[in-house]
């Protein structure tokens, strides 16, 4: 497969970061079709380990579609066809050797609307480790639950009511519960699809702090409509427009010195 690089990366910027941080995931010429309609027109992105990559762009530009390609959630959509190469640690995730179920355990996901299971807080977290056989016995499971909730910054708020339903928490707490649920299975990459769009500013601030902390252990890709959020939490930003990836660079570069005028138009609020 021929790999064309359409990414406008400044040579010196690449020289500064590329050797230091290895690529966790790489997308080459990714095209997605919903039936006859093409949603992505050849995306090339590198996702660097232990960094936060923000995907920004106007509605319908394909950010979420691209995000869902990274853990093959698009498999569940009828008529959805993915072309091109997406590699995790150098291995094609659409290749024969990779199982979608196993992949999704390695590449976790947090959704736009908090979607805890209608079960207890404990069972929400414990479900993943249970089905993957990651904890044997009660004590080990308790430990995983506690650790996950602590890392998601929710432990102190819920430690006395682990048996209560997860759906009884506030919106922001529910979203942190979903993040805790995602990290409980020890993924390598966490995908977040507008995780704060249903939350108030205080809950949003909580999640943003959390994302910054999680970066130490995980590689994170976040879709956001909120420009300030992208600027606050991410190290890399990719701007999508009408199914194309227009520009991908260090967040600071994108926001201070965009190369493409569409990027500039979007981040300055001229359209989108």
């Amino acid at each position: 497969m021929s790999v064309q690089t359409q990414i406008h990366t400044k040579p010196q910027a690449a020289a500064r970061t590329a050797p230091a941080v290895p690529n966790k995931m790489v997308a080459r010429d990714v095209k997605v079709f919903y039936g006859a309609k093409q949603a992505l027109k050849g995306i090339n992105v590198e996702i660097q380990e232990n960094k936060v990559l923000a995907l920004i762009g106007p509605s319908g530009c394909g950010k979420s579609t691209f995000l869902r390609c990274l853990n093959r959630m698009n498999d569940t959509i009828e008529n959805c066809r993915v072309e091109g190469l997406i590699a995790l640690d150098g291995e094609d995730i659409y290749g024969k050797g990779i199982d979608a179920v196993q992949l999704r355990a390695r590449v976790g996901m947090v959704f736009q609307k908090p979607n805890p299971f209608p079960k207890s807080i404990y069972d929400n977290i414990a479900y993943g480790p249970r089905i993957h056989g990651m904890a044997t016995g009660r004590e080990e499971l308790d430990e995983v639950v506690e650790k996950s909730l602590q890392r998601a910054g929710l432990w102190n708020e819920v430690k006395d009511r682990l048996r209560e339903p997860g759906t009884g928490l506030s919106g922001g707490q529910q979203q942190r519960l979903c993040i805790a649920r995602a990290i409980a299975v020890s993924p390598e990459v966490i995908l977040m699809d507008e995780p704060c769009s249903a939350l108030d500013p205080i809950a949003t601030a909580h999640i943003e702090e959390l994302i910054d902390e999680l970066r130490e252990n995980f590689t994170i890709v976040i879709v956001t409509h909120n420009m300030q959020q992208a600027a606050r939490v991410s190290q890399k930003t990719a701007f999508f427009h009408l199914g194309d990836m227009v520009e991908c660079d260090d967040t600071e570069e994108i926001f201070t010195n965009p190369r493409d005028e569409r990027t500039q138009g979007y981040i300055t609020g001229r359209y989108g």
Partner: protein, 421 residues
């Protein structure tokens, strides 16, 4: 229209008139709705009143008290009829002629000797002693005691002649002929004699039939619904299957009876009148109902739950069995119980496979001859005796009771397991 113009429009007489019109339309709609509800309630009240007023007397049965002397020789000959008759004659020492005695004989139920025999078998120690027993009277005497026959009609047009009425009145006055709770109705099978007829046989038949129906249609129906809703590709084949399932749900039930007759009796040679075949036919009939309601229940589970489970690496089957199915369960249960209630009340297909037979014995297995509640009602409704008329209504009340119970259970289960997200 400019802003100022529209402002004056909202304050104009024209607008006020339209507003009144809108309120009037709403009021009329509410009145029509309440009227419809009232009419439906009235119909229900009329139906229930008619059934209850005709049927409540069937829960009582007239019995006569007799001092029977269980003579050893007579017991050995199994001549219980004679034992009973002697006890009855003893109450009327003034009647000595044959005609008078025959009149007395006719007061007792033809089943009374068997009752006495059963009593003796249960407790052989009573042979040789004198015992006070209550035995059933003939259904016509029972109806007379309940006041269902007129006394004033000329003797030739009456079911009971003057001599019988005199004897009955005498026994009622002495307190030896009284009405008691009709246990036979709940413990016996069918009979040609109304006072010996009960619906227990039909209830057991219904339970056996429904058990077969449930064991077949629930697992198959739920599995089919889960496959169609969660796994099957959406193409013209699945569309075709969906159209066919919806059509099957609307097929008249008698057609399923004919199918059962041709396939289960004709081809596989299964026994007639058997709950097994009845259950198979009912399973075919309720399957589309269960599939449709289960699919609706599965559809109502939000997709975010499926995404959440898939997103942490659950396999599609785990997603369904751990999350989607438990959340859809209340809806599936409701649909299942309503399907079962429909099967409980179904008559037509069972006529085709011979469950309309006159069966006295209580069925003990799936291949025993049996009938079911609605068919029993159908057969009793066909009987001309006044006593069967009230038993028909009583059986309808019992059937309605079961249906209310099942639907109540459906509501209870839905409320209990309903979960919000």
């Amino acid at each position: 229209m400019t802003v100022t113009a529209s402002k004056s429009h909202y304050q104009s007489e024209e607008f006020a008139r339209r507003l009144r019109g809108r309120y009037a339309a709403e009021r009329n709609f509410k009145i029509a709705g309440i009227a419809a509800l009232a009419l439906a309630s009235l119909m229900l009240v009329v139906l229930l009143t008619s059934i209850v007023s005709k049927g409540y007397t069937a829960f009582q049965q007239a019995q006569v008290r007799l001092e029977v002397t269980l003579d050893k020789a007579q017991v050995e000959e199994r001549n219980y009829t004679a034992i009973l008759r002697q006890a009855l004659y003893a109450q009327f020492p003034q009647i000595t002629d044959r005609t008078g005695k025959r009149t007395l004989n006719e007061l007792l139920s033809s089943g009374a000797p068997y009752e006495l025999e059963a009593l003796v078998k249960q407790n052989p120690a009573i042979v040789g002693t004198t015992q006070t027993v209550w035995v059933r009277v003939d259904d016509e005497v029972d109806q007379f005691v309940k006041g269902n026959f007129s006394r004033s009609a000329p003797e030739s047009e009456r079911r009971l002649n003057d001599a019988k009425i005199a004897a009955i009145d005498a026994m009622v006055a002495k307190g030896t002929l009284v009405q008691a709770f009709n246990t036979t109705l709940f413990s016996a099978g069918d009979s040609r004699e109304a006072e010996q007829a009960g619906i227990w046989g039909a209830i057991v038949g219904s339970m056996l039939t429904l058990t077969v129906t449930m064991l077949l249609s629930v697992p198959i129906g739920v599995a089919a619904a889960v496959y169609l809703e969660e796994f099957a590709p959406k193409n013209k084949w699945t569309d075709l299957i969906e159209v066919n399932i919806n059509n099957l749900a609307a097929v008249p039930s008698i057609i399923f009876g004919l199918l059962g007759l041709a396939v289960f009796l004709g081809f596989f040679g299964l026994p007639r009148s058997a709950p097994l075949v009845g259950g198979l036919v009912m399973a075919l009939m309720t399957l589309p109902v269960i599939i449709i309601s289960a699919r609706v229940a599965l559809k109502s589970v939000p997709p975010s739950i499926r995404e959440a489970a898939l997103g942490i690496g659950a396999s599609p089957l785990q997603t369904v069995t751990h999350h989607v199915l438990p959340l859809a369960m209340p809806g599936i249960l409701t649909g299942t119980i309503i399907g079962m209630a429909r099967a409980l009340g179904e008559t037509a297909p069972l006529l085709m496979i011979g469950m309309v037979a006159f069966i006295v014995d209580i069925p003990h297995g799936l291949t025993d001859s049996a009938t079911v509640l609605p068919v029993q009602i159908y057969m009793w409704a066909d009987s001309p005796e006044r006593a069967f008329t009230e038993r028909t209504s009583a059986a309808i009340m019992i059937l309605l009771g079961f249906l209310i119970l099942m639907n109540g259970l459906a509501v209870f289960l839905r409320k209990k397991f309903e979960r919000r997200w």
